[in-house]
């Protein structure tokens, strides 16, 4: 409880939490509020916002409800952002722990693979992956995770290198614990906090990458995405700028919210660490 209070003690964290809460609510109520297909035609094409209150944010080039698209887009953005970040953190933590704990040849091989992934620009990697495998939500998540796991892997390895020299790891060996159990049960949980501190950056980057992929037409075609909405609006940017601005603002706010909330979490845990 006191941890929550400490988290909410900075205005940035409160703002971030509010934005994320709003986003989560949008994603959750989207199928209730806009039960039909958000890609179905709902009215006349290119209706400006705030004219017809049954279509508050107007319609796009094909006459689709922009508000419905926005709500359903929140689902995609959140799902992709969280799933990709979770996958990246999982892969990174496992690879980093194995490399740091095993040392020697295993370490060399795993870290050279990490280097290889890091030398390729991450967006290019995601782009190439999706263009080869084909656009679907799962592939997009995999592509983003593939380009984002190297950071967590490096942080986890550095942390594991320091933890594996501690007495309690020697103690675990003395009682005959299997090396894999030592790595994943004794070492990894204690190496996680700095890795998890990366999560807000990764979630934000994942949301942006997903939007960029969709903007380039490599998103899942069966789902509404904010990146796709911006791409749609681009062709009529002069006559109906709101079609690009509305999802663009949503994207900016979401990424901002993730950063602020992430910063708040890091801040509050830092305080807790220095107190103990």
């Amino acid at each position: 409880m006191s941890r929550l209070r400490r988290f909410l003690s900075t205005p940035e964290a409160v703002a971030g939490a509010l934005i994320l809460a709003l986003l989560a609510v949008m994603a959750l109520v989207a199928p209730l509020l806009f039960s039909g297909d958000p890609q179905a035609i709902a009215g006349p094409a290119l209706q400006p916002p705030f004219q017809d209150w049954s279509l508050p944010l107007g319609t796009d080039r094909l006459g689709r409800d922009v508000l419905a698209e926005l709500f359903h887009g929140a689902r995609t953005s959140l799902a992709v952002g969280l799933a990709a970040a979770a996958a990246a953190l999982l892969i990174g933590a496992v690879v980093g722990t194995l490399a740091g704990f095993a040392g020697g040849l295993v370490d060399e091989v795993l870290m050279r693979v990490t280097d290889a992934f890091q030398t390729v620009p991450s967006f290019l990697l995601a782009l190439a992956f999706v263009s080869i495998v084909g656009p679907s939500l799962g592939v997009v998540v995999a592509a983003i995770a593939l380009s984002a796991w190297t950071g967590p892997a490096r942080v986890a390895r550095a942390e594991v290198l320091s933890i594996r020299e501690r007495d309690y790891v020697a103690g675990a060996r003395v009682i005959g614990m299997h090396p894999l159990e030592i790595a994943f049960r004794e070492v990894l949980p204690n190496a996680l906090p700095p890795v998890l501190a990366l999560s807000s950056v990764i979630v934000a980057a994942a949301i942006l990458t997903e939007a960029a992929l969709s903007f380039l037409g490599l998103g899942d075609p069966n789902r509404v995405t904010w990146g796709g909405m911006i791409a749609e609006g681009r062709t009529v940017l002069r006559t109906a700028p709101f079609l690009s601005i509305v999802p663009g603002v949503a994207l900016v706010l979401t990424v901002l919210g993730v950063y602020l909330a992430g910063e708040g979490v890091v801040e509050s845990t830092a305080v807790r660490r220095s107190l103990s």
Partner: protein, 258 residues
């Protein structure tokens, strides 16, 4: 037959570019229910020997026979199984446990790994172990960082005896404890030795403690054995320069000499 026989043990490290021997041609034996102390100044190789004996690091040369079998020949699952008989208690009881662990988990691990008790039996075994080292069984649910240093070292001893070892390496096991607790822990160790016939490799720089608990002592200097023999005799009349220096550095020992 000896529990542990170490012969010509050598471990070299590199300091900058020039190699030096942290442990140089060290040989000793420990008999069942016997306490052998390793004494010596900082950097004399005491802790390196402990880690070599426990196979936490590998020697460059020498042999280790544990319970009559070549201990260095073991690897993998065979080594892990054998480790049940050879346990260790560390100096800093806080650093020796996973900071997230509870007392119950710390004691559960050896019982589970070596199949000593079924899952259903283990809570009872854990309670018995805690009582054996003079702790309340209710302590099991507490986190390691919630109990006192003396209690933590008792838990460490309980963990070490959980697998019924024949030898426990005590690496400065009482050095970090305050004086009143130290006496109780030494009492507990002597009591366990009498009842379970456990041998101790007792590493300490404190000759007062060594004289109180050890049968024999080996005094190390820069990785080599300077002298060895009956603990009381060596401490009363050290022959080596380093032995004399260690005794002289312990004022109450020189004063108590007749």
């Amino acid at each position: 037959m000896s529990v542990l026989a170490v012969s010509s043990l050598t471990k070299r490290y590199r300091r900058g570019s020039k190699p030096f021997a942290a442990v140089d041609d060290v040989s000793f034996e420990i008999n069942p229910a016997e306490t052998l102390a390793l004494a010596g100044p900082s950097g004399s190789g005491k802790s390196t020997i402990a880690r070599l004996v426990l196979r936490l690091i590998e020697p460059d040369a020498g042999r280790i026979a544990f319970e009559g079998a070549d201990f260095l020949a073991l690897s993998g699952a065979a080594l892990r199984a054998r480790r049940a008989r050879l346990q260790m208690v560390f100096q800093d009881p806080l650093a020796a446990f996973n900071p997230r662990a509870t007392v119950a988990r710390v004691l559960d691990d050896p019982l589970r790994i070596h199949n000593i008790a079924t899952r259903a039996e283990r809570p009872r075994r854990i309670a018995a172990l805690l009582e054996r080292v003079g702790l309340d069984a209710g302590l099991a649910a507490r986190a390691i960082h919630e109990i006192s240093g003396g209690q933590r070292q008792r838990v460490a001893i309980a963990r070490a005896i959980a697998t019924r070892p024949s030898l426990i390496v005590l690496d400065e096991a009482v050095s970090a404890l305050d004086v009143s607790v130290r006496g109780q822990i030494l009492e507990l160790l002597l009591d366990l030795q009498r009842q379970e016939r456990i041998a101790y490799l007792f590493i300490s720089h404190d000759l007062g403690v060594i004289r109180a608990v050890a049968h024999r002592v080996v005094i190390l200097d820069a990785g080599r054995i300077a002298e060895s023999g009956d603990a009381r005799a060596v401490i009363a009349d050290p022959q080596s320069a380093i032995g004399k220096a260690l005794v002289a550095a312990t004022p109450r020992l020189t004063r108590s000499r007749p």
